[in-house]
Symmetry: D2
Subunit: 355 residues, 4 copies
């Protein structure tokens, strides 16, 4: 931690900060510049709340040096985390990128969902996604079938050999979700719902954590840390777009760079959601390809099979025809990446990883 | 709703959209331009999910004309909502702006909190704020005393004649909160935790709803609508800063313009939180004044009485000496505004409000 | 400057950075933490380009400690800069805030402009603003009368006793501007047009520098530094709104906090432009008041007198009736601030300024 | 254009707007909703400045339906623009993506630059980039060799068979640039320097236009329109990152989605600059690949050959070893895309393009 003092800070003020930090177990190096004094505090940041020292008289600013997450960091675990699911599907590292597809929300009868699930399976996807409980910006919008939706998802997945991922919205539903889903999703709006993070952490189930629309990468990894601090290291991150200043052509700005950044600073797998990340059908394919080339461990894409009566499908959903065509292109790309990854793996076995 | 078709949309595609909207009860006016066709759909937006029509082939974009919230809108209720509390304190409209002050989190023993409460009362404040359950970005930070904190708050408030406001973080705690607090706070990170909004809505208690750091004003008012749709119109909004591109000098960008905008489009009271909105002590006073002059119905400010041992107080908290000085200046300003408001009220009684 | 090394940086890499910095004249303090090594480089940042050291192998990040501007900083000049104009008008410090009003662009005949100028003078304003050369986002929009517009401005100002402020857009026009205007404006889109900054710097004339819509405060002050480095310290800054994520209700986000922040870090005067800063007529008055209470040294407001035929006036311009009513309210507020400032001044003479 | 009236707008106010628009040559369709009236104005937007109608009493908001640029739009020219350079290099459409590489600024002696140019040629790149006049955020930073730098660039390019691209910063330098460069660059900070856009437009030379850090896509295309309105349709756009809220790990947010969006709405070529777009060396390769897969017509990348003495190279520049390795990977990817593009071209010749 670096503590920058005001140019007019007195010797007493500087000493008070120094004493406080030393009492907390930090080693202090004082750097007196021409204009201002800077204290380098060496030690474990988690021993104190950095904001507490920022409240001292004469302190201008506190800068963190080491990232404040620990379990999620690459420093604490060098090799990539790879999460294995019941049917052998693996997510993370140099494994083949996975596809999670399905409708925004599960609606109507079971047959409708089966049709989507069969298309997903036929195209080689691994996960069936679908909302049973929907977070809706407006209270007047359809908010999902509830537990019945989860039953449909599980049944469709079992019949087709897919895995189920669905979003939980409240701590009271977490146990029920464990009965139905293989991967519990935390939605972007709940990324900092810390009670919910703790609750899903305790289940030990794999968790898909979506990035909040205003979450800095550091906040995103700290949210993962909340899950991991409850003894659950099976966390898959998902970049799904952040708020930008131009919402004329897209709903969000899909932050592709977050993928290689997170791969550098964390060992956790990260996928991308180009459907929510752009909000436009015609952008799903190019942004899917971009995310894969930037290193994504998978994609989450919205598809539907009945646009004329859909309650929450929208401008970002592909119909089954569009999905099949897009998926063919993506599979071709994934095949190449997979091949490249294997070559890379072999190379790595022969030589130490270059920095 | 305005539906803009692609320049190359076919007559069949245009007719399909027209038919769908008419079946949903909308009246459609077709405007054929030189380049593209635009459909104006007149009727109640809430009959359909606008995204559903956006998924039709040939649709380029859907634009909302009428704001999607209803109960929170100025159209549905012209006069300002004024919320009255048990001791006669009123929030909203032309009432004197209220002050909500206290520590970030309730800590240590009761005496510590009483000292803050007495300073607040002595300076003329109306509400004692304090976190008993704290949302912490890092899992390693102190997360509050829990119910004991609420007990302390209630006792300190009763002894001094203040009202209590504190943040609830989970649906399972809502009932307990009703026993201790006069105003239930929904934090910025939970602004779109719809289950929680519903739960606090059902209590009928006044709710303080903080704006999420990436929430557009429309999304903010739709979050209020979730509470109001559960028969609770006692909602106070709170502007607390949004994410900006420059975090060198402030934590957030306090969006002062949101105050007069919300006053135009909604009848709900709105206050400002310059402590979280800036994250810097020296900005609390000027931004408090700015918010009051822009029409805020109150302010929420963090104060503390023991910086050297605080667990979550920080660069934004005023100590008791700083608080008293700032509050003296604010009281002077509030006195003038209060006087101006009364003059204005008398004028309004004599004449119709100008637009 | 703080140089943070990668956790895996080798001793050789650390030494290479140390040697390079020492050769450039910096004193280096090495801080070895458990995870990574941090170098504190003490000395004048301007001796090197910080990015150059960032390109060394093993460097993770370079953080500036001292702000990179010098002439514009409060450290280099403690007392407020006050700029005096030919008729005795002063801008800055505790002087009475000034008003700069006028049409977006000068149009049509001279009589039209005189009417606006007379209203401005009658209401106590100090500056007549108006665009003669207009930066237009679209090439098809009216782009100003050119030199004729400047002549009209000068004549209207002389007849009414106002000062002229107008925007220059190209280095080749700078000399001509000096003949007509008292204050040369650099528009937001040209804030980092460094050739133009240099050219206006060399004139020695007072310069009004508008903040770019994506400019961090540090970049804004560095733009002022470009002018000042050419021996011109007569710079007035202008906050006019930055790009935000919600453009439904405003064109920009007026960053009111920038006013007290800049007052802390710089000695230069700063005014606000609530017309461009919001883009909405009804927000001009509340945001003007907010800016004044936050410490603005003046306001720039767009007014017009013939909306039905205006070429570039818009949703943000007040007509003369609206202007007179708004200005009456602002004058009342300015009178109070002016009174408060004088009291404050007297206090300061009696006592040292508190930090 | 859609004009939304306030709910309380009077019949007279509505009629005044209607009359004004009809006088300007628009056909008006009135849509009376339950709450507010909406006017659809059908006709050429360029006949009026939309802001002028926004200033009428009773108008709440004006929404554009048709994009305000014309020459740059896909509607005005369906087929992709492909720009051919003197040595047969083509940029745009389905042509092989081009590489523009070189140092941030041209420095020191000619030999230094030749070494970079030879590496670029050897790796198959088409353009040599380099700054002769540098826009520097700080006035104390090195700002380029000036015309000598351009001479070096031209000579190095002629000796190696590369093309030259370099940034012009002032209208007075435009003629000189035409003697030295094949592609005139307008930097991000000058994207809305309209005098400069006009000046480079008039040269008829190919122009590389970089997106401003706060420019919406609409503003970006309108800046291109300024060049094209001066009879120069040889414009290459360049996405180079926009301001985001998280600058911890990157300098800007590279908006990859802008590539396919611009391909849909415009016929102009678009390339990406991952060096400035991220500001980090380790992100150049993954973001280059992402941009290419999203459809970029080329890449601009910063490379250097002497980090220890570079004046403005930085954390984002690759040294020659890193460049060669990265370029090998990119060439492999470009080869595949090129192959795919040819297959696609053949398909297109056989069938009409799907929408």
């Amino acid at each position: 931690m670096i503590i920058i003092m005001e140019p007019k800070a007195t010797v007493e003020q500087i000493n008070a900060v120094k004493r406080y930090m030393e009492n907390k177990g930090f080693k202090i190096v004082l750097n007196h510049g021409d204009v201002m004094t800077v204290l380098a505090a060496i030690g474990d940041k988690r021993l104190i709340e950095p904001q507490s020292v920022a409240s001292f008289e004469g302190v201008r600013e506190v800068k963190l040096i080491q990232e404040p997450y620990k379990l999620a960091s690459r420093e604490s675990k060098e090799e990539d985390t790879v999460i294995e699911f019941k049917n052998g599907v693996k997510v993370g590292g140099l494994e083949k990128p996975v596809m999670m597809v399905g409708p925004c929300s599960v609606e109507k009868d079971f047959g409708w969902l089966m049709e989507v699930a069969q298309a997903a399976k036929e195209m080689g996807c691994e996960f069936l996604r679908g909302g049973a409980f929907k977070p809706r910006t407006s209270p007047y919008d359809f908010d999902g079938l509830g537990e019945k939706g989860l039953k449909y998802l599980k049944e469709a997945a079992e019949k087709t050999g897919l895995l189920v991922v669905s979003e939980v919205m409240d701590t009271t539903d977490v146990d029920m979700f464990c009965d139905y889903v293989d991967l519990i999703q935390i939605g972007a709006r709940n990324m900092q719902n810390f009670k919910l993070l703790k609750a899903v952490g305790k289940t030990g189930k794999p968790v898909l954590l979506k990035r909040g629309p205003a979450a800095a990468i550091r906040e995103f990894l700290l949210a993962a840390e909340h899950i991991m601090a409850n003894d659950n290291d099976k966390v898959i991150l998902c970049e799904r777009g952040v708020k930008g200043f131009d919402s004329t052509f897209t709903r969000n700005t899909l932050d592709i760079a977050a993928i290689p950044i997170i791969k550098k600073y964390s060992h956790l797998p990260i996928i991308a959601d180009p459907s929510h990340g752009t909000g436009r059908r015609y952008l799903v394919e190019p942004m899917s390809k971009a995310a894969l080339m930037a290193g994504a461990n998978g994609l989450m894409i919205e598809i539907h099979n009945d646009p004329d009566n859909a309650s929450s499908d929208g401008a970002q959903s592909l119909n089954l025809t569009q999905f099949r065509e897009t998926q063919r292109h993506l599979n071709k790309l994934i095949g190449r990446i997979d091949y490249d990854n294997k070559v890379l793996k072999a190379e790595i076995e022969k030589a130490a990883l270059r920095c």
